[in-house]
């Protein structure tokens, strides 16, 4: 069969640098690896699987890609028990029943009852059946159960969905697909074979400072550096949940809102809750550890 599916979007990028620039304009600072992964996903028309610790910016990457492509972002949040009626489509039963009742004596044909006006479109169908370019974000695929993964595999290889009552719906344009996983379980090999794979680690300190300055424009250079350095110090500790970039941004916002120009032990103690989300982690970092980390962060930002 001739591949007549159009390229995902109206906007296209000839080089990684072009995509990188567009992502930066969408307020997202990718490292070279991530820019390459997204570029290849577009160039090879393949889904890309982004894995990494929570808070390294996997979901944000998909949002930025949609902005860069001037495409609609359609998000499917996965969870245990997710099934076709929540991911693909469902019939609007109350309306259908009302319709039968309203027809009273007149008979209602099956075609009439299962027409598209009674169809509720869920994210996957929406993405396949869209006129506009789409970035389809399948978020936290590792949380869905394996039956759903197998179904998804089918959708991602054919880009078509069959509804028994209506027939097969084929994508007019192949959506750009981004999958994310926190690795709560290993995904099926068959799914991985069809996707490009990129592991996102924590950013380098320079890049994290850059990200903070971009997201919190009112912050001072010095405070951005100190905050990034402090969070970096936290990541080296033995914590239940080391903070990601998302936490650094939240925290920097809090510090900036308090009108701080630099950090000290007192303000860190007060705002630690926006960086660390577990009580036991906050306890680990109390007192001397905290003072030490603050000193190091201040020294490195000087």
């Amino acid at each position: 069969m001739v591949d007549r599916v159009d390229y995902a979007a109206g906007v296209s990028f000839r080089t990684i640098d072009e995509l990188d620039t567009a992502l930066r304009e969408a307020d997202y600072l990718p490292d070279r690896g991530l820019a390459t992964a997204l570029f290849l996903a577009l160039a090879l028309e393949k889904p890309v699987l982004l894995e990494g610790e929570a808070g390294v910016g996997k979901t944000e990457a998909a949002k930025a890609l949609a902005t860069a492509l001037d495409a609609r972002l359609i998000r499917l949040q996965c969870y245990e028990g997710l099934d076709v009626s929540h991911a693909v489509y469902e019939w609007n039963y109350p309306r259908q029943l009302l319709h039968i009742r309203a027809a009273q004596e007149g008979t209602v044909s099956e075609e009439e009852l299962f027409g598209s006006e009674f169809l509720i479109r869920r994210p996957l169908l929406d993405a396949i059946d869209s006129d506009k370019p789409v970035v389809l974000l399948i978020d936290e695929i590792d949380r869905a159960d394996e039956e759903f993964e197998a179904f998804l595999l089918e959708v991602l290889s054919d880009f078509q969905i069959t509804i028994p009552e209506l027939g097969t719906i084929r994508a007019r344009r192949k959506p750009a697909v981004v999958l994310t996983s926190n690795r709560t379980r290993e995904l099926h090999d068959a799914l991985k074979r069809r996707t490009l794979f990129h592991w996102i680690g924590h950013p380098s300190i320079e890049r994290e400072v850059e990200i903070v300055k971009l997201r919190v424009p009112e912050i001072s250079e010095r405070l951005a550096k100190e905050a990034a350095a402090f969070v970096r110090g936290l990541r080296a500790l033995d914590l239940a949940k080391p903070p990601g970039v998302a936490e650094t941004i939240d925290w920097a916002q809090a510090l900036a809102a308090l009108g701080r120009e630099e950090i000290d032990a007192e303000v860190v103690e007060q705002t630690l809750g926006s960086v660390l989300k577990y009580r036991e982690d906050i306890e680990t970092v109390r007192d001397e550890t905290l003072v030490g980390l603050v000193e190091e962060a201040r020294a490195s930002a000087r």
């Binding site: 992964a37 160039a43 009852l113 239940a240």
Partner: protein, 376 residues
């Protein structure tokens, strides 16, 4: 031509990757070639990421990939390939034993109870793994698959048709009402069904556990083969994930690799540190949440028993239930006096032996019916 040069490079590099243990299928190689056609070949980082993203699909293969990349494309010093250093040559003693037992038994003996004779089977069931000959061990191995089929279950969030269900199945209701003019006369129901609960096994493979670890690894192998949702780890002085090995290779090879990675000979077991590693890396990714966790160990902790207690508390909080299997418990006079064992017990839901086939059957039965005991 540049095109053919790329193909040649990718094919050869694919071979290098295969040598370090990364399987590269033809589809992946084709992606790599297409990807390289789209990026700037003079930029080394672009070439690196393009190859990595098209050829590797697992986080734990990244390090192997990096070594291979440095050695092949950067002509760097050939760092010893991990698999070669970590994996000792196939143990000859085991190979010879396996061969011999095959000869002794002949093809007719399938190891099933009725063919062994009832009393012989009873004796075998009760025999301590540590005292078994390789023949007996071979027979026991085959019995394990049957025990491994019993898995803990939980209720799925997904509903399927069930006449005794608790929710109306609207889709079917509508179809049926169509025939009766919109009157829902027949009412189809649906219910949540039971699906296997996640099972995580952490197996101590240090020296003192040698004979039992081997038996339990065969058991683990059978469990991993029983379906999805099973994760296996080995620990000694360190922790290593075994799920992938057990799913793809034979248990002897998996044990050999686990020994090479997780055990420093003569340096004792670090249960607390291994549990900490598990909680930090895998627990954080919710691998243990809602799971039945089975720890197999004799409880001899080299370091600090307090660390064992702390990490067991974390583990018990995340897990649905914790089972501790200690082969020493097979001895009726055994008392859990070892520091690590004493520290762990308050967080354990069920404490079982695991020294012979009968005790593994018991483990299977416990796993099938386990209920959460400790408070959530």
């Amino acid at each position: 031509m540049q095109g053919t040069a790329i193909v040649r490079h990718v094919v050869t590099f694919g071979r290098v990757l295969r040598e370090v243990g990364i399987e590269v299928g033809p589809g992946r190689a084709a992606n790599a070639v297409r990807g390289l056609g789209a990026v700037d070949l003079t930029r080394q980082d672009d070439v690196y990421f393009t190859l990595r993203q098209t050829l590797v699909s697992r986080h734990d293969e990244l390090e192997l990939f990096d070594r291979a990349f440095v050695a092949w494309f950067l002509r760097g010093p050939v760092t010893p390939l991990v698999r070669q250093t970590l994996e000792p040559p196939f143990p000859e003693r085991v190979a010879a034993d396996t061969l011999r037992s095959g000869l002794d038994q002949g093809a007719g003996d399938t190891g099933r109870p009725q063919e062994l004779g009832a009393s012989a089977y009873e004796l075998l069931r009760e025999k301590d793994f540590a005292e078994m000959t390789s023949d007996e061990f071979e027979r026991v191995r085959r019995l394990m698959a049957a025990i491994a089929r019993t898995r803990p279950r939980r209720t799925s969030r997904r509903r399927s048709p069930d006449p005794r269900g608790d929710r109306l199945d609207l889709r079917r209701l509508l179809r049926k009402s169509l025939r009766t003019g919109g009157e829902p006369i027949e009412q189809p129901w649906k219910a949540r069904k039971a699906v296997p609960r996640k099972l995580v096994v952490l197996c101590d493979v240090s020296g003192s556990m040698d004979a039992y670890a081997r038996a339990l690894l065969f058991y683990l192998h059978a469990i991993v083969g029983s379906g999805p949702g099973v994760e296996a780890f080995a620990f000694g002085t360190r922790l290593t994930r075994l799920t992938h090995d057990l799913a793809t290779r034979d248990p002897e090879a998996a044990l050999a690799r686990a020994n090479a990675i997780a055990v420093d000979w003569g340096s004792g077991t670090r249960i607390g540190a291994s549990l900490r590693e598990f909680n930090a890396i895998y627990g954080r990714r919710a691998l243990s949440r809602g799971a039945v966790v089975v720890v197999v160990s004799d409880g001899w902790e080299r370091d600090d028993p307090d660390l064992v207690a702390r990490e067991m508390a974390k583990l018990a909080r995340a897990a649905y239930a914790v089972v501790w299997v200690n082969p020493l418990k097979g001895n009726p006079e055994y008392q859990p006096l070892a520091g690590g064992m004493r520290a762990a017990l308050p967080f354990v839901d069920r404490f079982l032996p695991g020294h012979n086939l009968r005790s593994l059957e018991e483990l299977g039965a416990v796993l099938a019916g386990i209920e959460r005991r400790h408070a959530a």
